[in-house]
């Protein structure tokens, strides 16, 4: 019997099955990696183990006891700890007090801190490398320090099973290395660890076994090497081989000056630097792709261009600076964002969604535009009266692009157009991108995890890692020069 055994774990949110009959084990002294793209259900799986969500079906045996459906504090009492991705320490208390909190028993009559508790807190701080910072306040710690503080809190509870949610997000390469060492040390102390990450590379070097998930299901399990070599996993991350066959990779160096120029763009979230000195040129009337793994900073870049995020640096659209312009004015000026989250009006019909996209057009223009969109996505014409939230994921993606097209964009930003879509829908999106390119009326900027998909359509490609441009160049050189390094 393994220390932790999860069987047929299932969680539904409304109609969506976020976790679908997933099995996995982890033993003491072992690190299990849960990997998968955004929305694959890996974080929900971890929440089920911690008790933050109640599973709809399945069992979780910890040391032989079924803890499925227990309240989180009871599960914590069984020796399970969790490190959250976003830390919210107590700002008015010192670092030491924040860790002391974790050492306290669940007893309202416990009114004095014992020496033993204090020693344990100090020891945890030392272990994570925060020795000497005890009397500082969390606001005085750097971003990585806050992450360490969270780990110290989890460690102070001396857990048998430690759950880590995206421990590397937002960290620099050097910090990732230090953190990996820290986590490795935790395993050697005889603990069981589960690590959730989409950063496949760092996980591969660290974990003993990996479970890959996609659309709520387990698609592969085994050693990191086996999982990474798995065809399904590669398809989820890179796109399948069959799609690249016959790919119409074209080289086109536009003679016209770039339609959008981004220079030295910086975006910070509190202390975390999401983008540092990003510079890109978007090909006029062509397709430009920004590729990178989940969390690399693609969405931040797009949101910054669309005016949804404050940023520092230059953004010029057709030689005009648009930095600091309100988001709705940017949208009206012709830069239209079709976000990863799609942001549809769920309780309104397909037709109403499209109408809202074209609300600034004259009625004749609007009718013509509607025909144009329904020509590209015939499916939307068939589903005209249906509520957007009842559409399938692929249809929603088409509607999101369709609604953006209703605004007659000069530059269309599409964030993750293919994420989580079935191959057949991907083909529809592919075709639509080609149609738009041929129409010659707009420029496209794509953000993609699926690098093969991206390089197939793009004229020029930028690779982002950890918020910085790692590579840029023509699309046809991308696969040969960079492709291998990603996975």
């Amino acid at each position: 019997m393994k220390f932790l055994e999860a069987r047929q774990l299932t969680k539904r949110f409304g109609g969506l099955t976020a976790v679908d009959k997933v099995d996995f084990d982890v033993d003491k002294g072992e690190i299990l990696g849960l990997i998968g793209p955004n929305g694959s259900g890996k974080s929900t799986t971890m929440s089920l183990v911690m008790g933050l969500h109640k599973p709809d079906a399945g069992s979780i045996h910890l040391n032989g006891v079924d803890i499925a459906g227990w309240a989180p504090n009871r599960i914590a009492g069984m020796g399970v700890s969790m490190v959250f991705q976003h830390s919210r320490p107590l700002q008015q208390q010192t670092v030491l007090q924040n860790v002391l909190l974790a050492c306290l028993p669940n007893k309202v009559t416990h009114l004095r801190v014992t020496d033993a508790q204090r020693d344990r807190a100090l020891e945890s701080l030392r272990l994570v490398g925060l020795g000497g910072m005890e009397e500082k306040f969390p606001s005085e710690l750097p971003f990585a320090g806050l992450r360490r503080l969270e780990v110290a809190k989890a460690l102070a509870r001396d857990p048998d099973l430690l759950l880590l949610d995206e421990p590397f997000a937002g960290l620099s390469a050097g910090e990732v290395r230090e953190f990996s060492d820290l986590i490795r040390n935790l395993r050697s102390a005889g603990r069981a660890l589960i690590l959730v990450d989409h950063n496949v590379k760092s996980v591969a070097a660290l974990v003993d076994r990996a479970v890959a998930m996609s659309s709520g299901q387990k698609i592969a399990e085994g050693s990191p090497r086996e999982v990474l070599a798995n065809a399904d996993v590669r398809r989820v991350y890179l796109g399948s081989q069959s799609e690249t066959v016959g790919a119409n990779v074209r080289k086109r160096k536009s003679e016209a000056s770039p339609v959008l120029i981004v220079k030295n763009l910086n975006v910070t979230y509190g202390k975390a630097q999401a983008l540092s000195n990003i510079s890109i040129d978007v090909v006029d009337r062509g397709v430009t792709a920004v590729v990178g793994l989940n969390g690399a900073g693609k969405t931040s870049l797009f949101n910054a261009i669309a005016g949804l995020l404050p940023s520092r640096g230059e953004i010029a659209f057709r030689q005009q600076s648009i930095a600091g312009t309100p988001a709705h004015e940017i949208a009206r000026s012709g830069i239209v964002l079709c976000p990863e989250s799609r942001e549809l009006f769920g309780d309104m019909s397909v037709h109403e969604n499209l109408q809202l996209g074209g609300m600034h057009l004259s009625s004749a223009d609007k009718r013509e535009r509607l025909d144009f969109v329904e020509q590209i996505f015939p499916r939307l014409g068939e589903r005209r009266g249906q509520y957007a939230r009842t559409l399938s994921g692929g249809e929603q993606q088409q509607l999101a692009i369709g609604r953006a097209l209703m605004m007659k964009p000069k530059l269309l930003l599409i964030d993750e157009p293919t994420l989580g879509l079935a191959p057949i829908v991907m083909d529809i999106i592919s075709e639509s991108i080609e149609t738009l390119r041929k129409s010659g009326e707009l420029s496209l900027l794509l953000a993609e995890q699926n690098m093969v998909f991206a390089s197939r359509h793009a004229d020029s490609v930028y690779l982002i890692e950890h918020g910085a441009i790692e590579w840029s160049g023509p699309a046809d050189q991308f696969v040969e020069q960079v492709g291998g390094k990603i996975l």
């Binding site: 933050l52 309240a71 107590l90 208390q93 909190l101 009114l111």
Partner: protein, 311 residues
């Protein structure tokens, strides 16, 4: 907490000095009328401190403070008017009654979050008011219950009672929020998921906090009943009195224990100065509170801290 005993001791010494300094006010020429303003202000200070234990630390906005206060006041008043016990026993029973009523309300209400919790606590006040009117042959209805006994008649004595109560409440609450219990409560208030993951049963802690808040609210309610001489719905079971308490706590500075005292006294003294405005004085107080809310989110105590922190 070890390592920062000093930072606990100094505010406590401060509390003691301020309390003692205030206690001699009757003997240095402060008029009896001024004392009575401060007396009522100090009772409000206790309400506001108790309320802020729930709001500032446990993160729950209780719109039914007067449900707890009213239970304390009416329990004490009804016992006294029926000749059951001496005033002090009535007050103690009032505090105990408030704890019981608070637990009965809180145990199910704490399952709810945000506006829903607030609504249930608000509705509790409305229902209690209705019941008092409905059973007016026992409760005195809209006329209230007159208490035959008094604890003290002298303005100075009543002032000392209120001051002592406020000081003891401040002391107990301050020690409590600086203890592991307070640390956990604050963690729950800021991020209840995280606190659960650290192994804390948030309902247990919030319920305890609710009972403590109820205890001091009920205690002060009972004592204030004996001070005023009657328990009546407009003073003790009224949503708008609850609003005044909330305003006092936020104006003074939430999550500070001492801030609400400042807020309550500020409101009492401000209304006294604004009295020449006649019926517009309440409007002026609300306006001031609104301005404080907008420009000093940390409250008056936050302003003092801001001024004392150079950077």
């Amino acid at each position: 907490m070890a390592g920062n005993t000093f930072s606990i001791r100094r505010p406590l010494i401060g509390l003691a000095i301020v309390s003692l300094a205030t206690a001699v006010l009757p003997y240095v020429g402060l008029q009896e009328y001024s004392l009575s303003i401060l007396t009522l202000g100090l009772f409000f200070a206790v309400y506001a401190m108790s309320w802020d234990l729930l709001f500032g630390y446990a993160g729950e906005a209780n719109f039914g403070a007067t449900f707890l206060i009213g239970t304390g006041a009416y329990t004490a008043a009804l016992m006294s008017s029926n000749g059951v016990a001496t005033p002090l026993i009535c007050v103690a029973a009032g505090a105990a009654g408030a704890v019981v009523a608070g637990a009965v309300l809180a145990f199910p209400a704490l399952r709810l979050r945000g506006p829903y919790f607030g609504l249930v606590t608000l509705v509790a006040v409305l229902i209690m008011r209705q019941l008092i009117i409905l059973f007016s042959d026992k409760t005195g209805g809209e006329i209230g219950v007159a208490v035959p006994d008094v604890i003290a008649i002298e303005a100075a004595t009543n002032f000392h009672i209120a001051l002592g109560l406020a000081a003891v409440t401040a002391l107990v609450l301050y020690l409590l929020v600086k203890s592991p219990f307070g640390l956990i409560l604050e963690a729950i208030g800021q991020d209840s998921v995280n606190a659960q993951v650290l192994g804390f049963n948030i309902v247990k802690y919030k319920l305890t906090a609710f009972c403590i808040s109820a205890f001091f609210s009920g205690l002060a309610g009972g004592l204030m009943t004996f001070y005023l001489g009657t328990a009546s719905t407009n003073v003790f079971v009224d949503a708008s009195v609850g609003v005044q308490i909330i305003i006092a706590a936020i104006v003074g500075g939430r999550r500070t224990v001492f801030g609400p005292i400042l807020g309550a006294l500020f409101m009492a003294i401000a209304s006294e100065y604004l009295r020449p405005l006649g019926s517009l004085s309440e409007l002026a107080v609300a306006l001031i509170a609104l301005i404080v809310l907008f420009f000093l989110p940390g409250g008056l105590l936050g302003l003092v801290r801001l001024a004392r922190r150079p950077s």
